[in-house]
Symmetry: C2
Subunit: 383 residues, 2 copies
């Protein structure tokens, strides 16, 4: 039987197999310290829960407009003003089923079959798979500690071809937790604009930045599309809700595409998210953020002390990208070794690209400080 070649080109997440093995071990009664999972362990804040329940109770379960509930689009626009002092019109805001839906819309509208998309290696693995899914080509640019694991203007200049139409960046980055400097972002935005191309900026870990200035790429130019999500900072993973902010000129096409490919984001989630920006919710989220920071401040020196090299200190997200060369030449094997022998689950570098991937692992601090301490204890005894 026929099978699309796009499927052969799309890599599975190696961590899913590792997670499945971890669950098998748990079923056998083993205790596993989970530092592999890219999902906040906090549950959705109560005001959002209450708003979701109320929406369903009163029957707000029909389709919304494809671009999302007008009130939610307005609340997000207002949030940019409050949080970043950045002016965004609600007409630029598109509500999507998760950041995934936002990436699909953004690439669907701006990227042509065969176009080249520049992105960093290591980086979020779905990005290159989205590009392949829509028959584009990715040009993965190796990045290292010297640029904080981020793309720079030089990278764009060196890798630009006549087929390049999109650059994808993420700040903070998954897996490295590093942020882009504002000056570099603005230089890249300017360059990309001169080329008549687009900059797609993943800001889904915004809100979880522990050091340095907070700014959004929307301070940049009219060729920027920002992707965001209610999953991480807002602790709403399973609700499947995200958004994008795009130049207004693109929104009509996004509306048309959204009508066709997903109709609209889930309605109960949209009503629930109306409670995401109120002071009580933000208070809860900020306390979660403080807890993430505490965990990072414990885990970072502890990993260094064990002999992992942390080449750039993460400023945000809930990840530490650690060089594991002191212990292994094969971080994939190493991850399984730790899982099988001491019940510590981490993600091998391989899930984030090819460049020196076997030298790195990603630790996620999406579990309690107590669990992290237990993990470090086991690593200390074993390594």
């Amino acid at each position: 039987m026929v099978r699309s070649s796009r499927i052969k080109d799309i890599q599975p997440f190696h961590v899913m197999a590792l997670l499945a093995r971890a669950k098998e071990l748990e079923a056998q009664g083993k205790d596993i310290v989970h530092m592999e999972i890219g999902e906040p362990d906090f549950t959705t804040p109560q005001p959002i829960i209450n708003a979701g329940i109320e929406a369903i109770r009163i029957g707000n379960v029909h389709y919304t407009p494809a671009l999302g509930l007008p009130a939610l689009r307005e609340a997000i626009a207002a949030f940019y003003k409050t949080r970043y002092d950045t002016e965004v019109s609600s007409k630029q805001v598109v509500i999507t089923p998760g950041a995934s839906g936002a990436l699909m819309l953004a690439l669907g509208v701006i990227m042509q079959e065969g176009d080249e998309v520049l992105l960093a290696d290591p980086g979020y693995p779905c990005n290159r798979n989205f590009v392949r899914f829509l028959s584009g080509k990715t040009r993965s640019i190796p990045v290292d500690a010297s640029s904080g694991f981020q793309l720079t203007l030089n990278h764009l200049q060196d890798n630009w071809t006549e087929k390049t139409t999109v650059v994808m960046i993420a700040s903070p980055s998954n897996p490295t937790g590093t942020c882009l400097a504002r000056s570099e972002l603005l230089k890249m935005a300017q360059f990309v604009k001169e080329k008549g191309a687009y900059l797609v900026v993943d800001e889904i870990y915004h809100g979880l930045v522990y050091e340095g200035d907070i700014f959004t790429a929307l301070d940049g130019d009219e060729n920027i599309i920002v992707i965001n999500s209610f999953s991480k900072y807002f602790n709403m993973t399973g609700w499947r809700l995200g958004w994008l902010v795009a130049p207004e000129a693109l929104v009509g096409d996004m509306d048309k595409l959204a009508q066709n490919i997903f109709l609209a984001a889930p309605t109960p989630a949209q009503y629930a998210a109306l409670a995401a920006f109120n002071p009580e919710t933000i208070g809860i989220l900020e306390s979660h953020k403080q807890e993430f920071k505490q965990r990072r401040d414990f885990l970072l020196p502890a990993l260094k002390k064990l002999g992992f090299k942390i080449e750039v200190e993460p400023q945000g997200a809930f990840y530490i990208y650690a060089n594991s060369e002191s212990f292994t030449k094969d971080s994939y094997e190493f991850a399984y070794d730790l899982l099988e022998n001491i019940g510590v689950a981490i993600t091998p570098g391989k899930d984030f690209g090819d460049y020196k991937a076997s030298n790195y692992v990603r630790f996620a601090y999406t579990t309690s400080l107590e669990q992290l301490k237990e993990g470090i204890k086991r690593l200390n005894e074993y390594l």
Copy 2:
């Protein structure tokens, strides 16, 4: 700035502009009879509402596996046994964000760039847009009353090329409400299988069939993918939940693709849907079905009496595809004429394809019998 040509090739739904105009008129105080909307007017049955609320209340709001909650996959497999006496393994069932997510997965896995997909004109407009979105080519086959507005084996034989890899059919069909005969379906399935291709069967209006035998295409062969949804029969539109049933050999690839393109269907919706198959819910849904049937039984003769030609009586869904040639040569203009002059909103044929589209309009009976009577009264006075 660059813009993908795929966007230029994707048509907007003309009915969305008409709906927007209808809302404008309503805002001006005009009373509109809505017979354009493809969404059941019934709210979600209470047991599903309760299960959704309970899920959120107890914090079932994290990611599920990409293929969906195992319990829901099992419930759907069991439903095929209960309702159709068809054996389906839960391993073949994939939970998706709406039927849209199911179409994306199915085409993503089986259709290669440049492949040809055969489908009926008139038909559900998103289908051809999905194919274009994924860089395939549609071959729209004109169908008319002689085949009940459905594809036949002859159509496939006459239109098959070496690039054909997928055939998409829908039973009941949107916009015509007509069903495929079992014998014709099995002949087509056999032919498509011999060609090493796939048959994708849209069964999202299953459950809403008012006459004749009920059967699922899954009684056919191993090259069949069935698309279904909780939106129509189960009255769960805004929850954004659907499913597909595929040959088990494809499910691994679908898992990989789902992990990348949408992660998982919304979690509260999946827990809510666990209550969709219990006897109390089915009782409510069957009473809704009876109400749809009553509406159809009123609207069908009433439209004929007015002078619309109904060339094939719809057996299912909640649509009547009516020939409007007695009144107009341009059904698009006609739809606006009715909206502006008598406040009756219907969908022009143009939204469902090109073949004789200007001779047809679609009436949806997704509003109360009282409203339908009011609509007929206005049409009777005006036409």
